[in-house]
Each structure stands twice: as C-alpha cells, then as structure tokens.
C-alpha cells in the first residue's frame, strides 16, 4: 500500500476522496504516522491547488476538486494563497525569464524521466494542455529573446553614441575590447564589453583608494555625458567601517564592477546583487574563468537603475559540479 501511496495519482485521488474507503483509511493513517508520505502529501496538495488556480485541471478533476476539496475557510485560504503566489509570479517574472534565458533549462528530458514526481505530473496534462504548454514556452522564449535583443541594441547604441561623441573614449573602448579577447570567458557579450571598459581603467582605479570613492566611467574626466560607471571591489575593502562608497552620476545607465576575489579553487562563479533588505536584485549568469592564477577578477555589469541610494551587497558564489558555495560578500554604499 505504501508503494502505491507514493504515487502522485493515488495521493491526488486520496485528497479528492476518489479512493475506496479501505484505501482512504490506510492513507489516513500514513498521513499522520509517515514522515515521507506527509511530505509528499503536502507537495501534491500544493500542486493540486496551483493547478486549480491556473485552470489546468481536467474536467473530471475539477469536478472532484470542487466537490471534495474546495470547502472551509482553511482550504479557501490555501487557494487564495496560491492565487497570490501566481499574481506575484506574474508581477515579478524575472527569475523565470533568467532561467529560460540561461539555456540551462532547455531539454531537461533525460533527467526528468528519472524523477518520479514530475513524471507523475502527467496526470494533469492532457495532450491539448501539453501543446498549449509548449506554445506558451515558445512564446516566453520569443519574448525573452526579443527583450534581450532590444536591450542589447539599446546598450550598443549607447556605446556607439559615446564613441561618436568622444573619439578619445572610443579609442579607449576599442583598446579595451581587444584586451577583452585575452580576458577570461564570460557568457555575456555585453559583460565582456563592460568588463573590458573597467579593465581599461583598472590602473587608475587602483591608484585611487580614498573613501568616498567615486565610480570610474569609461571617460571619466574626458566628457560629461557618462553612461557607464565602473568601480572595483576588493576583499581588503570589506568589513565594518570599510564599506566602499560609490557615487553614481544621475545619467549613469550601466554599472560595471570588477570584483577581486581571494584565492580559491573555483573556475566558475555566480554573482548576486542584494539590496539593503537582502532582497536579490540581480543575478549574473555563470561566469567561467580559464586563468589559473591565484588572484582572479570577476567583471560584471548590470543596469544602474537597480541601484538605489543606500547599501548593497554583491555575493560571489563559487560553482563546481552544480554545487555552489558563498565565497564572499562585497558591500558598497551608493550615493546618488
């Protein structure tokens, strides 16, 4: 019986009272005595409610759900919660888009088949729904691709405008781009460009270590219309009382940061930007480093609009075989 109880469909039938009385009683007992079953029961219940909220239940399941499940304040509250969670997801779709964008999530079929829970999910999927799902996924990819292309064009346009407005700065950027070819691999072209910009200013930045420290733009002091601001965060600058202060000009559109790492054994990294409330604002793609030196620099960039006045933290994670380890926090204070 317990083996059957592991089955998603059986648990769904149990929740919807679609099992014979004898089996119901057996599962009743497991629902109080068996930790593993309880965990699965809660998972299936959540999935069931989410499917109802999203309108993904088959006609039969919907009838069962309404008749046997949807009653009482507690369950209505669960449904309301699922609605709220869905509304939140629609309001803040970034994490999903990031995942689709990264390409990691494409073609997970081989490992998926090894996972019983998601196989069992088939119970809710009619062929028509599956087609709809594929269509939606394709639509999401299309939208994400479009948005990324627009974003890319926008940044390229900004860069080219700056090149036109200041030939000196353009020359500097060009040289920096050539430097970037010798730089460690990064999985974002835009990041490479920006990284190279901050690379070009590295010497200058190192020579200036007073606080407050202003950001270094690709044309600092050379022109007024700065759109990219870059600065360096070092491990030595961390700790109470040593927080780096960064002044961002109002017209800054992109922030490029070079993060100096302490010696570590990792060759892949991910960087997460947090705000004062520890809320994640941005997450880099996986950054791969080919160089084997002890001292590594990570070059990242993100829209300046993410940074508000106040303290932020960059968290650097080392990634190895799918496991991640927090390597360090790099706090900095933004002044606008």
């Amino acid at each position: 019986m317990k083996e059957n109880a592991d089955d998603f469909r059986v648990i769904t039938d149990y929740l919807l009272k679609a099992l014979p009385e004898e089996e119901l009683e057996q599962l009743d007992e497991l629902s109080v005595t068996d930790d593993e079953f309880v965990a699965k029961l809660r998972m299936v219940e959540n999935e069931l409610i989410d499917s109802y909220v999203r309108g993904n239940l088959t006609e039969k399941r919907l009838e069962q759900f309404k008749a046997a499940y949807l009653y009482g304040a507690d369950r209505r509250q669960k449904v309301d919660f699922a609605h709220a969670l869905q509304a939140f997801g629609k309001k803040h779709p970034l994490p999903l888009l990031e995942k689709v964008q990264s390409g990691k999530s494409i073609n997970p079929q081989p490992e998926m088949t090894a996972h019983r829970w998601f196989e069992l999910w088939e119970v809710f999927r009619t062929p028509r729904l599956a087609q709809f799902g594929f269509a939606m996924a394709a639509l999401v990819l299309l939208i994400v691709g479009g948005l990324l292309a627009i974003e890319n064009i926008r940044h390229r346009r900004q860069l080219s405008q700056e090149r036109v407005s200041n030939s000196a700065a353009a020359q500097q950027t060009h040289e920096a781009q050539r430097d970037a070819e010798r730089q460690p691999e990064s999985n974002s072209t835009r990041e490479k460009e920006l990284a190279s910009n901050s690379n070009a200013n590295e010497k200058e930045q190192h020579s200036e270590s007073k606080t407050p420290v202003g950001p270094h733009s690709i044309s600092s002091g050379a022109r007024r219309n700065v759109s990219i601001s870059s600065f360096v965060l070092t491990p030595q600058m961390r700790g109470p009382g040593e927080i780096k202060i960064v002044t961002l000009p109002a017209h800054t559109s992109v922030v490029a940061i070079k993060v100096q790492l302490e010696p570590n054994q990792y060759s892949s990294y991910q960087v997460v930007l947090l705000n004062e409330s520890n809320r994640s604002l941005w997450r880099s793609n996986t950054i791969n480093m080919r160089e084997k030196t002890d001292y590594k620099n990570l070059s990242i960039s993100f829209p300046a609009a993410l940074l508000k006045q106040g303290t932020h933290v960059l968290q650097v994670y080392g990634i190895d075989r799918g496991q991640s380890e927090l390597l360090g926090d790099y706090p900095f204070r933004v002044m606008k």
């Binding site: 009743d28 009653y71 309301d80 709220a84 999903l96 990264s102 997970p108 709809f132 594929f134 991640s324």
Partner: protein, 199 residues
C-alpha cells in the same frame, strides 16, 4: 483506592504537557517542533474528514494522549505518531456520533459551499491585502529561500518543470530534495501570510 479523575474534568497541566512534548520527541530535543508537526497533521486529518472543528479535535486528541501518558497507560515501545492516530480515530468516531445527533450540523458538513460569502469589492481588497502580505513575507525570507520559492512555483506546465529542473541543478540538489525544500518554505510562507492577514 483513590478514584480516577473523570475524563471530562481532566485538565492539561504544565507537567503533563512537558511529558507529552518529551514523548513526541522520541529522544530528540525538537524544541516543541514535533508537537506542532503532529498537531498540524491531526488538523489536516480532521479537515480531510470534513470535520467542522479540526483544530479543536486535534487539541482534544493531543489532550487525551497527554492524559494517557500521565496515567502511564502507554507502553514505552509505542510509536507516538501511531498512537496519536489511533486516538484521533476514536475522537473522529465520537465526533461523527455527535454530529449525527445534530442534523443541522451534518447538513452543514455536506454543503461544500459553506462559509462566509464575501462581497466582490471586499474580496478584491482581501486579495490585494494578501498579495501585500505575501510580498512582505517574501521579503522576510532568507534570499536563497526567496529565490527558491519564487522560481519553484513560477511558470506554466513544461516551463515550470524546466524551471524547477534548472533550479535544482543550480543549487546542486536533486529535484526531489528541491521539491521537499520548496514545500517547507511554502508552508512557512503560508503561515506568515496567514498571521499577516490576521494582524
């Protein structure tokens, strides 16, 4: 010989409650977590049995178990969860007998649409309030847990499955371990939202 105190007059003392907590812990100091978990399971059990007062019935079950413990009527080898379930079944059967005496209550149990009907505007306001609470509670979560819960429950159908798979991979977890973790975070979040709404 001293006469045993009638069951209905029995009151849960601090000592009896402590004994119950220790017994449920089975040698592991859970700081009351095991008791709360058992109560949650019992409430859910009575809910699934369509009882109108699942919380009260869960408390009644645990009170009876505590009383049996003070009477030293439970074998040392008894499995606490199993024993609680047996007592819960009795409590449920008693409840059913009581309900049968009251046809009105039974009718109410059979009515799936029972409960307070909320007017449209109030309902919208409630939903807005809940969403506000959800955002507040999400903010209170640790960043990693927030990422997990948001990503885990995002997307439709296949994109959701793919999203989960990628998330598990990025965290170095199996999809099953991720599912359990996400479920726990969701439980926590749900009770936070519930408390926020009640405030």
């Amino acid at each position: 010989m001293q006469r045993a105190e009638p069951k209905k007059n029995w009151v849960l003392t601090t000592e009896a409650f402590d004994r119950l907590l220790t017994w449920l812990d089975e040698g592991r100091a859970s700081n009351g977590e095991r008791y709360l978990e058992m109560r949650r399971r019992l409430v859910a059990y009575f809910y699934r049995k369509n009882c109108s007062t699942p919380d009260e019935l869960a408390d009644e079950t645990l009170n009876r178990v505590a009383r049996r413990l003070t009477e030293q009527a439970i074998d040392q080898d008894e499995n606490p969860a199993k024993y609680c379930y047996i007592v819960a079944r009795f409590v449920f059967l008693e409840y059913l007998r009581g309900s049968q005496k009251n046809e009105l209550a039974l009718n109410e149990l059979r009515n799936p649409q029972r409960g307070v009907v909320i007017a449209g505007n109030d309902e919208n306001a409630l939903k807005e309030h809940m969403l506000g609470c959800l955002e507040k509670c999400l903010d209170a979560l640790e960043p990693l847990n927030r990422e997990i819960i948001v990503r885990y429950y995002l997307g439709e159908e296949r994109s959701k499955i793919e999203n989960r798979h990628a998330l598990a991979e990025s965290l170095g977890l199996t999809t099953n371990a991720l599912a359990i973790r996400a479920c726990r975070i969701r439980d926590k979040l749900e009770s936070c939202v519930e408390n926020c709404i009640d405030e």
